[in-house]
């Protein structure tokens, strides 16, 4: 019950932020010297009438706040406007491309968490031993290397040199296998998905992995020095249980926060990774929209990505509240 209360509280808190995102995006797309019309007409001969016609067509002749209100009321109904370049609803375009991006980001996170947490715990437990040093150096490389370059190197090794894995594209596991030539059955499709996903997942996940590992290590070290760990030791709790339960659980709290906060880097990284691996996701759509000066589409995507981030943060906040009782239950005097 308390958790539900907190969830609703958190959702309400997000409303002003979401409105803020929409304002920022709207202003960026509409206020700059590169206003939509001139962007659209760039390089073309145009007359005043043409400009006015375009302005009228897209409602650009009305004052800014009116346009914003129109846009927002559409937004509430799930209408993100019409893409100028594709001549399709923005929402439909986004929906088309959302899947691969989510798949990529989530798998990268899964990869990062699965590798980083055990590594961080081991490093903390064997502090200042070779294992610790090795994992710290690895983490240093991880935070210092651009994800797209990791992608390129991975392609060079595994696709170009060794030819083991494909260098681009993605098979969508939610599509029927029949839509891909030469794929028989779901199992084969999943296998292909995995093969295609592996390299981009590592490329995108490495930074997250390194970040999470560093935090995990620091937190575990701190947690292992806690009084409650001393107490558990004094009561004969085995070191293994202390490491896996007593110290571990407390150390995970900041990890949850980090996962949420890093979502924005991950989404940015997804744009680059999709570019390197030619995956038709939101990132690619965004780049296309930018190239085509499709400001409606750019606005829609930016809002959507901001929204994704906010949702991600809310989810992590709620899981934090779930793990840490101090958040939902008020402090008692």
């Amino acid at each position: 019950m308390k958790l539900l209360k907190y969830t609703i509280y958190r959702l309400l808190q997000a409303i002003p932020v979401l409105i803020g995102i929409s304002v920022i995006t709207f202003l960026l797309a509409n206020l700059g010297p590169g206003d939509p019309v001139s962007l659209m007409l760039q390089g073309q001969e145009h007359s005043e009438e043409l400009v006015r016609a375009i302005e009228q067509r897209y409602g650009l002749d009305r004052p800014l706040h009116e346009r914003y209100i129109t846009y927002m009321s559409g937004l509430l109904e799930g209408d993100l406007g019409q893409s100028i370049y594709y001549q399709r609803p923005v929402s439909a375009l986004i929906l088309d491309r959302l899947g691969p991006t989510l798949l990529l980001v989530l798998s990268a996170y899964a990869f990062a968490l699965v590798t980083a947490i055990p590594l961080g715990v081991v490093a903390a437990n064997r502090r200042n031993e070779p294992t610790d040093h090795a994992s710290r150096v690895a983490a240093l490389f991880g935070v210092s290397t651009p994800s797209f370059w990791i992608g390129i190197v991975l392609i060079l090794i595994f696709a170009v040199k060794l030819g083991w894995l494909p260098s681009s594209g993605l098979y969508y596991p939610w599509r029927p296998p029949s839509s891909y030539p030469g794929i028989n059955g779901h199992l084969e499709l999943y296998y292909e998905t995995a093969r295609h996903l592996l390299l981009p997942m590592i490329a995108l996940g490495t930074l997250q992995m390194a970040t999470i590992m560093r935090v995990e290590r620091t937190q575990m070290i701190e947690s292992l020095q806690g009084e409650y760990v001393k107490l558990a030791r004094a009561y004969g709790v085995p070191e293994r249980t202390i490491l896996r339960k007593h110290a571990f659980q407390v150390a995970q709290l900041p990890i949850i926060t980090i996962v949420g906060a890093n979502l924005s880097t991950a989404i940015g990284g997804a744009v680059l990774t999709e570019t390197v691996f030619n995956i038709n996701g939101m990132g690619q759509l965004f780049i296309e929209a930018i190239q085509q000066n499709d400001y409606q589409l750019v606005m829609g995507i930016t809002m959507m990505l901001g929204f994704l981030f906010v949702v991600g943060v809310i989810i992590t906040d709620i899981s934090y509240a779930y793990v840490d009782p101090r958040v939902t239950y008020g402090e008692r005097d």
Binding site: A29, G34, G306
Partner: protein, 343 residues
């Protein structure tokens, strides 16, 4: 005696040494720590090296390091990135053919490019025959310049917002931090691209400003939390009780005491900034050709992967080493200034 403190100092009066927690500030102390800390020392070496190379490339834009003489002009073309001009994104249709932001991976019809290893071209040449080594060297200045300048922009605006929010608290804090959260909610890369394309134009200048603004929230948050914790200190209250003016409290107590940890963050942030700008250039929205820039070089070399894979390796390595230098330095500083993790 910092070690074993947990046991030795568990009595009522903390040992004198715990005073060091707050004493771990100040320039002389910081420098002494850097000298002692291996990590920080190496970080300092790398950063110093990178900055020297960058400066060298600016001071003498006509000299090649290895040939000890003048290279043909085309080797570094109009090298200085700082003087390139904002260019509008080319109009639809034309743009994609003219300068795609990325090259799809496909066999190019080029002959294999020179692999390098010669005195003249130690790292070979790019697709237009320019010396790759020289371009890598010149790329340093773009990265270092962009990293430092945009971090500085983020730091200055962030400091003002964070300090005001933290010191005054209440509604001011609330509103400022809410705005900061809004900016923070849009993924940086996306925000920067939208900013450069719609507000400015694809130019390194707009990228620098865009990156700087995007990182304002990070600094604002750090400074704010630092100011909040300093505000709780008794010495601030003592100063207030003594009738010291607000302005003097901020200038003499709050600012100096917040600065050291912020410096650590700024150092680490330079690395992050270089990372982001490299990504931006890779997509074609950072430094524009013919400026030698690592991200942009990777963008181009991506298309020649099958001809000369080393072209894709060198710029990446350069980025990695540079960022690593700043990260090492920042980590070392942090270890030195943060008593909790005392290796």
């Amino acid at each position: 005696m910092a070690v074993g403190e947990s046991q030795l100092g568990s009595d009522t009066e903390s040992a004198v040494d715990e005073g060091d927690v707050e004493a771990r500030v100040g320039w002389r102390y910081t420098l002494a720590q850097i000298k002692q800390d291996t990590t920080a020392r190496w970080g300092l070496y790398v950063v110093a090296f990178v900055i020297t190379v960058a400066t060298y490339a600016i001071v003498d834009s006509n000299l090649s390091l290895l040939t000890f003489g003048r290279l043909p002009d085309y080797a570094f073309a109009q090298a200085l990135p700082i003087f390139d001009h904002p260019t509008r994104i080319p109009p639809p249709g034309e743009g994609t053919q003219h300068m795609p932001p990325y090259f799809p991976l496909a066999e190019q019809s080029w002959n294999p490019l020179p692999a390098g290893g010669t005195i003249e071209h130690p790292l070979g040449t790019d697709h237009t025959g320019r010396d790759y080594f020289t371009r890598i060297v010149y790329g340093t200045q773009v990265s270092v310049f962009v990293g430092i300048v945009s971090t500085f922009i983020g730091l200055s605006i962030g400091t003002i917002i964070g300090a005001v929010a933290g010191y005054y608290g209440g509604k001011t804090d609330d509103i400022l931090m809410r705005v900061v959260e809004m900016i923070y909610s849009i993924p940086p890369l996306i925000l920067i691209i939208v900013f450069t394309v719609f507000v400015g134009g694809t130019s390194i200048w707009y990228a620098v400003i865009g990156v700087g603004i995007t990182f304002v929230p990070i600094f604002a948050r750090i400074i704010r939390s630092r100011v909040l914790s300093i505000r709780e200190m008794d010495y601030i209250e003592a100063a207030r009780a003594s009738g010291v003016k607000d302005r003097n409290i901020i200038m003499r107590h709050v600012v100096p005491n917040s600065f050291a940890p912020v410096l650590v963050y700024a150092t680490l942030q330079i690395g992050v900034t270089i990372l982001v700008v490299a990504g931006l250039s890779f997509l074609g929205y950072g430094a524009q050709p013919p400026t030698p820039d690592w991200g942009q070089m990777l963008n181009i070399s991506h298309g020649y992967m099958h001809s000369n894979l080393w072209l894709s390796i060198w710029p990446g390595l350069a980025i990695m080493i540079t960022i690593m230098g700043f990260n090492l330095l920042g980590d070392g500083l942090q270890d030195a200034l943060d008593p909790r993790i005392d290796d």
